[in-house]
């Protein structure tokens, strides 16, 4: 029972981080109808950004996170303005292709600049943990979980309460109508994609704290972000966090009760089943 509790907590903590990963992808997908195959690469780049902030500039990771997010926001903003906006009205598949190309570029730039060495962000408190009801909860994981949930809540509030957030939601529903109401689509698109990149960057930074970064972590993470975003309903922040939790717990349980090699079967099997079993809910979003 002890072990079950520990695994459950591990799953929840991981799930929060997963949710954060899904957040950025779901936002961009739901609002801009762009399926960002470079999402995992953005996570990876965010991880490196925080890593270098910590190792070169000595900034505490949790404090450096906003800086890393800002850098990623700028990157995302530029990507949308200079590249994605050029093809947004052509076939949806083209955004898939473009982001795939970007992914290739990012991964190999990272490989060239940072080498394939494993990097971890290891602040002094990383090894410590607290014990709650007999379950060990590492500070780093707990912090990451907290930040993830915080960001999700922030995103939800921004989308719901602020003018920009409303503009984003209007654009998601009906671009033409939004234009008529004075929304500047280019700016909103760029802000949205920038936000998605910032969230990915945050996830990457946190990932660097609780795990290791290489140029290649993006591939699986993009795929997982798909799953999580779909489970959560794309641009619904609270739902996506929920989706992340589901995946995190499912993976943790699978690792405990089945062979760890089954984790992929679990996450993707879950995805396929969800898609097949509840098509009606999702078809409307297509």
């Amino acid at each position: 029972m002890q072990l079950f509790g520990q695994i459950l907590v591990n799953g929840i903590l991981l799930g929060g981080l997963y949710g954060l990963m899904g957040l950025g992808m779901g936002l961009v997908w739901g609002v801009l109808k762009i399926v960002n195959l470079a999402h995992g690469a953005l996570i990876m780049l965010g991880g490196y950004a925080l890593y270098f902030l910590y190792t070169k500039a000595g900034v505490d990771p949790f404090l450096g996170l906003p800086l890393a997010m800002l850098a990623m926001f700028v990157l995302g903003y530029l990507l949308q303005t200079l590249l994605l906006n050029l093809i947004v009205r052509s076939a949806q598949l083209n955004t898939l292709l473009l982001t795939f190309g970007l992914d290739v570029v990012f991964v190999y730039m990272a490989q060239l600049l940072f080498t394939a060495d494993f990097r971890t962000i290891n602040p002094p408190y990383a090894g410590k943990n607290i014990s709650l009801f007999g379950v060990t909860v590492p500070y780093a994981q707990l912090g990451a979980f907290g930040v993830a949930v915080l960001l999700a809540a922030l995103l939800y509030l921004v989308l719901d309460k602020t003018r920009t957030g409303r503009a984003i939601r209007a654009t998601a529903q009906n671009l033409v109508a939004a234009r008529l109401y004075g929304v500047n689509p280019k700016r909103i698109y760029a802000i949205t994609f920038g936000t998605g990149a910032a969230l990915a960057g945050a996830a990457g930074g946190l990932y660097g704290i609780v795990s290791q970064i290489t140029p290649y972590i993006g591939v699986t993470l993009t795929a997982k972000s798909f799953v999580i975003a779909i489970l959560g309903g794309l641009d619904k922040p609270l739902g996506v966090i929920g989706g992340g939790l589901v995946l995190g717990i499912a993976e943790a349980m699978a690792a405990l009760y089945l062979d760890p090699t089954y984790t992929d079967i679990i996450s993707f099997g879950l995805l396929v089943l969800v898609l097949i079993a509840r098509p009606a809910q999702l078809l409307g979003r297509a």
């Binding site: 076939a91 473009l98 190999y108 993707f268």
Partner: protein, 315 residues
């Protein structure tokens, strides 16, 4: 140009067939890879290009074809021919079994579901005893790249001929109608479910055969290489680059991109892929409708074709 269109395929095929006798072994090997991946692109073209259902998991059929042939030859000691048939049967069965539920999904949801299917199948095979689990299988050795080259060429020609037939047939019109507006297509009398499943099955058939040929050629297979996920993106990109929904587009795209990739790979490892990525990005921005459309569009409006595209599709 139109009158001679019929000569293009046989002449090109003939020229390609002669390649092993006039070039080096390396080129023949590159050729086999290029021909097989072109077959994959052409297969994807049927479900993605014509029907508008962008599968990101066609590698599952390739992988099943690979494993079917490998199991048949390495474990059951069947002949190559029987092995290929077995692989094709596995691929087709998968398309029929999973096609119906998954083809109910649209757009990116369909794409993700196929991606999930490929990942699940790959993971499952890695646990199956007779498939050699994670270690893989070793097939009987056959020396003779030329034979594999010609076989791959025949397969590509068969796939392209099939697509050519589809493009002019009633079946093809139905697929295109489904792509353009599925609801309208249904209301006009097209059994969309059957058509989509048929398209997926044909794609699965050729993909599985490609996998089978590849398996016997390289002699050793394992889940990672058989269900290689990068194949999916490559076949999609090659088709989109060359021109989806056309007959020769995927072949063109596959040959061009394979060549680019090979040439760059011989320079430096990382840099090659970097350029590959940049080429893709540039191609999508300037040629969103594929290479074949460029050829036609260039004839009409010269360099303005590229800027026109941007103007039409920008936000």
């Amino acid at each position: 140009m139109n009158r001679f269109r019929w000569l293009v395929l046989p002449v090109a095929a003939g020229a390609l067939a002669a390649v092993p006798w006039v070039t080096s072994d390396t080129i023949v090997q590159y050729g086999i890879n290029a021909l097989l991946v072109a077959t994959l692109a052409q297969s994807w073209n049927i479900i993605g290009g014509f029907s508008g259902y962008p599968s990101f998991g066609n590698s599952v059929f390739y992988g099943l074809g690979t494993y079917g042939t490998a199991i048949a030859m390495a474990q059951l000691h069947w002949s190559f021919g029987s092995g290929l048939v077995f692989g094709a049967v596995l691929g087709v069965a998968c398309a029929l079994l999973f096609g119906i539920p998954i083809l109910r999904l649209r757009g990116p949801y369909f794409a993700i579901a196929t991606l999930g299917l490929a990942a699940v199948m790959s993971a499952i095979i890695a646990t199956v005893e007779i498939a050699g689990k994670n270690i893989g299988l070793i097939l009987p050795l056959f020396r003779g790249d030329t034979l594999f080259y010609e076989l791959s060429l025949i397969l590509l020609v068969a796939a392209t001929a099939t697509v050519a037939w589809i493009a002019r047939s009633r079946f093809g019109v139905g697929l295109v109608a489904i792509r353009e507006d599925e609801d309208a297509a249904q209301v006009m009398g097209i059994n969309t479910t059957m058509y989509k499943v048929a398209a997926l099955t044909v794609a699965a058939f050729f993909s599985a055969l490609a996998g089978g040929i590849h398996a016997y050629w390289i002699t050793f297979i394992d889940p990672a290489s058989a269900f290689d996920p990068s194949l999916n993106v490559r076949m999609v990109i090659m088709t989109l680059f060359g021109g989806p929904g056309t007959v020769l587009g995927p072949v063109l795209g596959a040959f061009v991109l394979s060549a680019v990739s090979e040439v760059l790979a011989s320079q430096a490892t990382g840099v090659a892929s970097l350029f590959y990525g940049i080429v893709i990005v540039a191609a999508v921005v300037f040629m969103p409708k594929g290479l074949l459309d460029v050829v036609q569009g260039f004839r009409e409006s010269r360099w303005r074709y590229f800027t026109d595209n941007i103007r039409r599709y920008r936000l």
